[in-house]
Symmetry: C2
């Protein structure tokens, strides 16, 4: 078509190129967006797809059981339907879901209960299970089947669901009430295109690791080969339920603060600060306002951008107490170690739980553990186990903040060799766990942790804590080994020495040899032999412990 | 509060735990979702944030200019406002934007013109620039300022914009028409919190690489130190404008097919196939239907899930022509090499452009180039340059499909050393470019390419193409080096040999030496010396060229 030159003096509006281009502008529905971008949700390849669906369903079951204070019993069944089709069934004994909510929870993206709360949970985005339903219908054309019961006295509710991706709304194929001999719980059945392989990054591995970090859960797993594995619970107590908190002022962005000031129901600045943020009492609010040179009695809506900036400055100058840790439920250093002991046959274990820290106003805790030596291969790179809110992360290792923290730690300081910019090499397994009210992932598939500097810093500190403990063991082990070698050398030369002494003295060689051996085994002599030479072979790496980004 | 036991016989509905939990269920707005998840958009740290904002604006400018067939002239200015605040200004000479569209394009997420088209462009998601505006307001509280003019005869339109994240709608702070002495174009100004550092992964690096892959663009860059760099255009022709196409049947998912059948305006199956897919003419449509055992005259809406599955099977049995390549505009092997020559001082260059391939119905082309030897360091890992639709990718290298493809290629076969599961080491720079109508990224920030198997396979094939060319050079170089060494050895011993011969024969040593040297320089003797010993030192790695996933 003929277009106006952009410098014509009297152009036909319609023919101006910008007008033409404007016709293509439209809104994109969330459903369309995620359908086209299924790789953002963990569905870019068939092996990962199987894991993602199981993971989303099991995570929801664990969250629901814990919230309702029920010891979880979860049944996972994967049936091979042939032709790369698999039927995934996940059934729990949780509180069930009220009928009205079922279609939206399972077949509407960005719908859920955890996004707006600041409390640690596995699910957080209101996407996961709807994305699984969407992927199932995308690859098999089949609806998902939900069965749920909220109370033993009520019938169960069953329905078939699809998602209309253009409108991002559920489509109920059929629904009914029916009998179910379970007292309460939810059962999800989704057919998908997938590939089943055992080994690393498999459903089997995910369930095994989930059982380790959730000892209070029983998981009964039947794989596509119809082999059944039961992970029986080893703890009869649920983890403490984390409490919901409000954001912490430290790290909250100016724009968020301005938005909160606009929407708050509080009538004064002082009330705003004390009611909308954690750990701000009357005294702290007063101090913040003083440091910001603002009146406590100001109305929140009077606070312009400039005044909000002053408020932020005031916050930075004020000493704030760390957030309460009851919003988080870390695994615990002891449990992390015992979980690791189940997983890895090593000779030395150590672990650490860091104190709570904050990024963007969100509290988080980092925990780390190491397993060294034993049956682990000396030629291979360290094996990494990553967790977020007790959920194992099996994919995208090199995209993860954990991985970056590990490669940026100077492992040579702890006696482990490490090629430049790479994982350490040697008999090592490293565990990193982040517990947070809002875990930042690199994509909606929740496979790897985003690289917030505060999080990486804490991870490195945790690794260094463990590293130092490891160093003591590694160096002690090396000294003992050296001492052994020196003792052996002495032992080896005793016959020769005995020989010479026999010739010199006329004594019988056997007698001298026996006397020498006896002397060698005396404690004070042993100590002498064990003493290393003056020069300390183990020089600390002179580079800083923390390499720059 | 007291909760009903889940097994009470006559429970109070309100007190059933599921009812309680249901109260927390709500919709999450797209704006809220992305504000909380700014790390998904490339804003997880301050250095990357600076780059992301510049990148989004510059990409839009290049796309707009190319679509309007204007040779791009883009001004990028970054002003250091102090206190980690930067003002980013990007101005282009593109077609401008009509007034009505301005607020939605810049301050509404998931709004744009490229998402629904299948055509190669830099922007695709309708997110980027609105995310930049949102990040600016999040960290500084300031609105973005837009100035745009669509025709020399019209006034320019200026406005200040913010985004209401709860509603995902623009908020226009102020707007007016004004004079602007530019004929047409768009100017974007955003204030953000950021960090400016030169070096790798910087704005400077991004603009330099952008200039290389876009030789038709002039970029005038003023950095925060007020230093100006001009990347003048070296080509006076725009790249061919890619045409829009329809999806290719190969790789389209069943669910997408079913959805298309439901929404099509075509009245018969045959018309549906020929009008909604690329490269399907009457003959191919007939064959597909025959192979699927379906009547060509069937109404699309009669096609149930089972029949749609048969249709997919029919498609798989039918030979389809590859998609037309005019929907893609690859950089071109020659230009890739010359760009690389500007970037890297090496002794050997090679490149390759693969034929078009498809994933999920979307055509794509992979191009690769290598630079070997020369000034590059022999101790360091290979340097990787990644591009997608001509845009340099500077972050998340190890999350990228390019990276995976490179580490899974057996570089030892080509004479380059390579630790297990890692990048090759040696004097090597590797370039990988993907051109596609829909590039799949690992997150909305478009930093790394998602791991679709079809894409990784093509990347490896491209790397192997280049690898084989490299191998010939590396081996030839090694043979020449060996020959040189052998010649040197001969030369070194000539004085000794001459000495002995002189003693034996009585001839003068100098005469014999001269004669020997003369003999050594004869071509036929040189050839003899250059011949390697029988055993070929360079055994090919016996592992397969392609390592398994």
């Amino acid at each position: 078509m003929v277009q106006s030159k952009l410098t014509d003096s009297a152009p036909n509006e319609e023919m101006i190129i910008a007008t033409q281009l404007a016709k293509g502008q439209r809104e994109i529905s969330v459903g369309e967006f995620f359908a086209k971008n299924r790789h953002l949700l963990g569905f870019d390849n068939k092996k990962k797809a199987l894991l993602t669906v199981v993971k989303e369903a099991v995570d929801n079951s664990l969250d629901a059981c814990e919230e309702a204070r029920i010891l979880p019993e979860i049944i996972v069944e994967i049936i091979d339907m042939g032709n790369e089709r698999y039927r995934i069934i996940v059934e729990d004994n949780g509180p069930g879901i009220v009928k009205k909510q079922v279609p939206r929870i399972f077949a509407k993206l960005l719908y859920g209960s955890k996004f707006h709360k600041l409390r640690m949970s596995r699910g957080q985005q209101g996407i996961g299970i709807s994305a699984a339903v969407m992927y199932g219908q995308l690859t098999t054309g089949r609806p998902a089947k939900i069965l749920t019961k909220i109370h033993s006295s009520k019938p169960a509710y069953a329905c078939e669901l699809k998602i209309d991706t253009h409108k991002n709304e559920p489509e109920i194929g059929s629904d009914e009430e029916k009998e179910w001999n379970k007292e309460h719980g939810t059962r999800v059945e989704i057919d998908i295109e997938a590939t089943y392989l055992k080994g690393s990054q498999s459903v089997d591995e995910y369930l095994k690791q989930t059982a380790i970090t959730n000892p209070h859960a029983t998981i009964i797993y039947t794989n596509p080969k119809a082999e059944q594995v039961i992970f029986a619970r080893v703890a009869n107590e649920l983890p403490k339920l984390p409490t919901e908190i409000q954001p912490h002022l430290y790290g909250v962005e100016l724009g968020v603060l301005m938005d909160m000031l606009k929407r708050t129901e509080s009538r004064t600045l002082q009330a705003f600060l004390t009611s909308e943020f954690t750990r701000v009492g009357a005294g702290t609010a007063k101090q913040i306002c003083e440091n910001a040179a603002l009146l406590q009695s100001m109305k929140p809506r009077e606070i312009t951008r400039e005044l909000a900036e002053k408020l932020m400055e005031g916050v930075k100058k004020t000493r704030l107490i760390a957030p309460p840790t009851d919003c988080l439920s870390p695994i615990g250093a002891e449990q992390l170690e015992s979980g690791l002991k189940k997983e890895v046959g090593a000779e030395f274990y150590c672990s650490t739980t860091r104190p709570p820290a904050i990024y963007r106003g969100y509290p988080f805790i980092i925990e780390a553990a190491l397993a060294y030596g034993g049956q682990q291969s000396a030629e291979e790179q360290a094996h990494i186990l990553r967790y977020a809110n007790r959920v194992p992360l099996l994919y995208q290792q090199s995209a993860c903040a954990s991985f970056k923290s590990i490669t940026q730690t100077a492992w040579r300081n702890y006696g482990i060799s490490q090629p430049q910019n790479a994982l350490p090499v040697g008999q090592l397994t490293i565990v990193l766990h982040i517990a947070s009210v809002w875990v930042p992932f690199t994509s909606e598939s929740k496979e790897a942790i985003a690289h917030y500097p505060e999080i990486i810093k804490e991870m490195k500190l945790a690794l260094q804590d463990c590293g130092r403990k490891l160093a003591m063991y590694v160096h002690k082990k090396a000294r003992i080994k050296d001492a052994q070698e020196r003792a052996n050398i002495f032992e080896r030369y005793i016959p020769e020495v005995a020989d010479s002494l026999a010739q010199l003295s006329g004594e019988k060689k056997e007698n001298i040899q026996e006397a020498l051996l006896k002397m060698l085994s005396k404690p004070e002599i042993q100590a002498q032999v064990a003493m290393p030479p003056e020069e300390d072979i183990y020089k600390l790496d002179t580079r800083q412990e923390e390499q720059d980004e």
